[in-house]
Symmetry: C2
Subunit: 359 residues, 2 copies
């Protein structure tokens, strides 16, 4: 049951995809090691420049001859005025003070506007470098981009948080779709539905999506071990995408404070917040999330808020201070382990066989 159409299509041994976590987590070593261990490693290229994107692709090619993939953030329109940016940045000044950072009062709006150019360059690089698999978050790219990628035989994977979004992905030509349950850590991929309405648990989401699309479904959110993999397959998914489980692996580039926060957390310590980036995301509750709660609904959209908090997140990490870092985590931190990628994947396959024998 693991040697299925997804594994076959992606040319991997097991239908286990490492979630493309952006922000330095998906080191070349992590991506390559996942692919070398029979899963699919994925570059989280959301925050990479085109040059960095090409460099990382080339680096990974040196480390594995197995297929790997890349994830791109689809740029979204956003509206913001100088004064909104100013007042959002002012809200952050007391936090800057706590971190001994200098105040910030003026931002040029033009800073936020290069997302489309970056995206288009990244698409070009994916084609030039012949990356075999490309996934998307925060929306569906234009018809032209999809057509161009398909012409180069690149397998396309969309992201959906509701049935409607999954159907839209299928219509657009995506070959597979990741369905992200409310359990998932990091950013919500929601792009059509309301924030609250699209927080659907995987036990509900997978079968309802499967009944309404014909492309293969990959489940994501809170999956950490063979139990989640086998449950996903029972629900109708053909594979899993795991984030937090790979984030705490030794090969991941996540900050040690971030890894430790997950390894010490319980299932009732994550919250959804839009204070870090302007988009809703799940992370371990810390001082930043709690202090920003009262401002949450007035903050500017992604990517503006993300840029505004950059100095804070960076300084907090540099000071090994978890208070103001984005400690993204799914709802299963009790299942996280510090281990190698190889050990994680081997254990999953061995345990999956056991479940298979008693079920």
């Amino acid at each position: 049951m693991l040697n299925n159409e997804i594994a076959e299509r992606l040319k991997i041994e097991y239908p286990i995809i490492q979630a493309p976590m952006a922000g330095g987590v998906t080191t070349s070593k992590l991506v390559a090691e996942v692919s070398n261990s029979g899963g699919l490693g994925m570059i989280g290229a959301g925050y990479l420049t085109p040059i960095q994107t090409r460099e990382q692709i080339r680096e990974i090619k040196q480390l594995t001859s197995n297929p790997f993939g890349i994830n791109l953030f689809v740029p979204n329109e956003f509206n913001v005025t100088e004064s909104e940016v100013k007042s959002a940045s002012e809200v952050l000044n007391p936090i800057r003070e706590q971190l001994n950072l200098s105040r910030k009062d003026d931002f040029e709006i033009s800073r936020f506007n290069n997302a489309y150019e970056t995206f288009n360059n990244q698409v070009k690089i994916v084609i030039e470098e012949k990356v075999p698999i490309c996934s998307f978050t925060f929306g569906i790219p234009s018809k032209e981009v999809i057509a161009e990628l398909k012409q180069h035989n690149i397998i396309l994977i969309g992201t959906a948080t509701t049935v409607r979004e999954a159907i839209e992905n299928e219509k657009s030509g995506m070959d597979m779709v990741v369905v992200q349950g409310s359990e998932a850590g990091g950013h919500r991929g929601t792009f059509m539905d309301g924030y609250q309405e699209s927080l659907v648990g995987l036990m509900s989401l997978i079968p309802q999506v499967v009944d309404n699309v014909s492309i293969p479904v990959i489940s994501a959110g809170g999956i950490m071990d063979a139990r989640g993999l086998m449950a996903s397959i029972c629900l109708g998914a053909k594979g899993v995408q795991m984030g937090t489980a790979f984030l705490t692996c030794v090969e991941s580039g996540a900050h040690k404070v971030h890894k430790e926060a997950i390894l010490n957390a319980n299932e009732d310590q994550t919250l959804l917040t839009r204070s870090f980036s302007g988009k809703w995301a799940r992370g371990i509750k810390n001082k930043f999330i709690l202090e920003m709660r009262k401002h949450e609904e007035f903050l500017p959209d992604y990517p503006v808020q993300n840029t505004l908090t950059q100095d804070i997140r960076k300084a907090s990490a540099a000071q090994n201070n978890q208070d103001f870092m984005s400690l993204w985590s799914g709802q299963s931190p009790r299942l996280a382990k510090s281990q190698t990628v190889e050990s994680l994947i081997k254990t999953i396959i061995a345990e999956a066989k056991k479940i298979n024998s008693y079920i």
Copy 2:
């Protein structure tokens, strides 16, 4: 794998428990039919008087010789002043007007205070009538009540929404624990943790609970068919409790408007609200939920708000108007069907065998 320790202990054929939905859904016919079909029927006695409780137990005994169970609401302390009640009721007056109900301005607080007496009388009746299984929602009963029920060999089932709550249930002497995922319809059983923190999806919740308690775990929330049953078992649960799936059955006492609302809903149309009862609960988005949103955090706790909205819910139902009814539903309404209990259970078992053969 379905003929497991839960089925054995509860003396049922399949580990499928019909959720004890209060408010008229669990008719004697529904409860008896579930037990006659090999599952466990459960009376939702939360809103019943002691006399009604005894009557229904006796009625069900006439309809089945198989075991059935009962669920009681554990009373919670609450604080409310006359003026808080008055202003909460005033908020409801414009809605009363839309339903041609007379305004309400004064409520005696004493009306809300008989929960402890009702609960103690219900416990006495459960013992006298020898109901073999008793479950609890909204907390854990006193040591004395637990001891007395156990002395009469009644199997006790607690409800938990987090690992901590499950551990507390095990410590108290519960024989099994229902873990309620964020997918679940109706009232959240949360009694220790914060509202948001305890909204954990089953994909995350089941394995983390299973790793931390030794009593059998029953999963609840969004489970509608064999896929959810088999997934729950992969995750470590020994059985499932299904609400919405039974609510739309022909034997259920749910209002036809309620059944139709579920049968026509999508997965992204439910919301959590505390406007109906003062406790958080998941239902299909309607006019009442949306109009009350701005008042939500100021409303009095359960059972006060529940009593205040009683005339509104009743009138809305009498007028076949779904706008102001509590349309409780889990996150899988697309999987709901209008069918008999027998057909629901038979289909689940047949499909479970199919999943078992291909997995």
